[in-house]
């Protein structure tokens, strides 16, 4: 039997989602996540470092050559194929959860 993947935390999910749009740097990810979550999810520096490190270890994201010069040459991260798959799995899981909730609470059974 295939092992079921652990659900992602909000921070991990939003970081992957944000990188789905294209490569980004730490500050950009933080701003985009804040925007995507309607101001509900802040990603602190410690969380950002730990999350990007863990996601790189899993092979879901990777560092890529930074664009720009000087201060703009920030570390960029991009989604890998494995990361894309993990994100889609998570989205499917969340859709299933929502559907189940709709079925019970929304009376769509």
């Amino acid at each position: 039997m295939a092992t079921r993947a652990e659900p992602l935390t909000e921070s991990y999910f939003y970081i992957l989602l944000c990188l789905y749009e294209g490569s980004n740097h730490g500050y950009g990810i933080m701003q985009r996540v804040l925007s995507l979550s309607g101001g509900n999810v802040h990603i602190g520096s410690g969380t950002m470092y730990g999350a990007t490190g863990n996601l790189m270890r899993k092979g879901w994201i990777e560092e890529c050559s930074p664009a720009g010069n000087g201060f703009e040459r920030r570390r960029q991260y991009r989604l890998t194929e494995a990361g894309r798959g993990a994100l889609q799995e998570e989205i499917a899981r969340l859709e299933h959860l929502t559907a189940a909730a709709e079925m019970i609470i929304g009376g769509k059974s």
């Binding site: 991990y12 730490g26 500050y27 999810v41 802040h42 602190g44």
Partner: protein, 476 residues
């Protein structure tokens, strides 16, 4: 504390387990216009600036990619003020700052002090480092790991001391026995304190208790000083003096190498070596002390180190020839002045004697004894020997006073099931046990990890060499 109009230095040792309390302290000082410019192990440095207020964050990392770590913090608006290297489990075990190393390799751990300009318009979350459950949990694990290891190290040391104490000769010098006992208590105490610090660091809110910290310092100094004294004392006694110089030489060499790497080490490799030496050197030295004293036991020249036999230090020896049906019921030892009586009750059957002496080897039994009327320990030993005319029971006893074997005249009576047995009493002429011999050999045993049976085998060899037994007529 030193203070001018523009500068201020607070002498305050960095205590990792109070890191959250320290953040609150720094923020309070910032509101008062004192902005942190440097955090050293023993002090905080501030400059005066009332036009700005900072929020602070203290973070611990080990085995991390420092460049990427600092990049992310900088991108998210944090300014690095200071960092302090951390020697890992050894530091955490003591938790006392002595092993903080300015040049520690990142793999050994490092505390970072960040600040961010305070803006009331920004949400409070902007000043948090860990904002989700995973990173909060990882941070707690990082902080707790070293303390868990530290507690385990102290628990292991405590067990080692206990093991050593149990295997020492029962009549070992009382001061060393106390030292071992103190070792056990102190290491256990340190183990609990390390766990307590683990508890503090994992629970909020933290509250600084400096008096308690100072007590821990004093305790640690006592532990390390005590261990060093015990080691050197054991080395000195085991080797008639010269091993102490070897031990001291190794200690000094380790210290020089350590200092060299700490002060001069610029590469990650040399800093790594220094970090490892911090905890490897004491352990090597500790083990060396044991192993060294073990090997030296056989090399001493007994004929030179044993004292001459005189009437004053001669123990009482009694040779008893047993017939086939004799069973010894009781031995009493009496001394006339000051009066004391010691009675050792035991039984030996003839069958046991045959079994014990079948290989023509003596066997011995040393039993821990009681006290005489003056509170001195009374030591009593006997062993059997197969002589030409049958089995000989060989008895010897001595009184321990002020840590030395004071061998005194006494009257020995052996009661057998046949009544009072005939015995030979030779207080001066047939002595094996010299007072100094017993003293030295038993002290040596206190620093080693093997049983007293082995020790007594060795002791007997030494004594036989120095004082050959001359049996009375008819018993040879």
């Amino acid at each position: 504390m030193k203070q001018t109009d523009t500068q201020k230095i607070l002498f305050d040792r960095f205590s990792p387990w109070y890191y959250e309390a320290e953040v609150r302290q720094l923020e309070e000082l910032s509101r008062q216009g004192w902005q942190l410019t440097a955090r050293k192990i023993w002090k905080m440095e501030f400059s005066r600036d009332t036009g700005v207020s900072y929020r602070y964050a203290i973070d611990f990392r080990s085995g991390h990619d420092e460049a990427r770590y600092l990049d992310i913090f900088r991108e998210l608006g944090w300014e690095l003020v200071s960092s302090i290297g951390d020697a890992g489990p050894v530091r955490a075990a003591g938790g006392y700052g002595l092993f903080f190393t300015p040049n520690a390799h990142p793999a050994d751990g490092r505390w970072y002090f960040f600040r961010k300009r305070y803006d009331a318009a920004l949400p409070e979350e902007d000043y948090l480092l860990d904002t989700d459950s995973v990173s909060k949990s990882e941070q707690k694990q990082r902080l707790a790991r070293n303390y868990t290891w530290g507690a385990a190290v102290f628990a292991a040391l405590s067990l080692l001391s206990l093991f050593n104490l149990l295997l020492s000769v029962p009549s070992a010098n009382v001061n060393l026995a106390l030292l071992r006992g103190a070792d056990i208590i102190l290491t256990l105490l340190l183990c609990f304190m390390t766990l307590h610090r683990r508890h503090i660091i994992l629970n909020t809110p933290q509250k600084k208790k400096r008096v308690w910290d100072l007590c821990v310092y004093a305790l640690l100094v006592a532990v390390f000083a005590g261990s060093l004294i015990a080691l050197l004392a054991a080395a000195r006694m085991a080797s008639d003096g010269w091993a102490i110089y070897v031990c001291l030489g190794i200690a000094v060499l380790c210290a020089i190498v350590l200092l060299f790497f700490l002060l001069r080490g610029k590469t990650s490799r040399s800093r790594r070596i220094a970090g490892s030496l911090l905890w490897v050197a004491p352990i090597v030295l500790f083990l060396f002390g044991y192993i060294f004293s073990l090997g030296l036991e056989y090399t001493r020249d007994a004929t030179q180190s044993l004292p001459p036999v005189t009437a004053e230090n001669t123990p009482v020896r009694l040779f008893l020839q047993l017939d086939e049906n004799t069973t010894i019921g009781q031995i009493e030892a009496q001394k006339s002045s000051p009066n004391w009586t010691f009675t050792e009750a035991f039984e030996i059957s003839n069958a046991e004697i045959e079994a014990e002496s079948g290989a023509n080897l003596y066997s011995y039994i040393i039993t821990p004894k009681g006290e005489d009327a003056d509170g001195n320990d009374v030591s009593f030993s006997y062993w059997m020997n197969e002589g030409a005319n049958g089995v000989v029971l060989d008895v010897c006893f001595s009184v321990w006073e002020d840590g030395r074997s004071q061998l005194l005249y006494a009257t020995l009576t052996i009661k057998t099931d046949d009544g009072i047995a005939s015995c030979y009493y030779y207080p001066t002429a047939y002595t094996q046990w010299g007072g100094e011999t017993g003293f030295n050999l038993e002290l040596k045993s206190a620093g080693r990890l093997f049983s007293h049976k082995y020790l007594l085998d060795t002791a007997q060899e030494v004594i036989d060499l120095a004082y050959p037994v001359v049996y009375p007529n008819g018993l040879e």
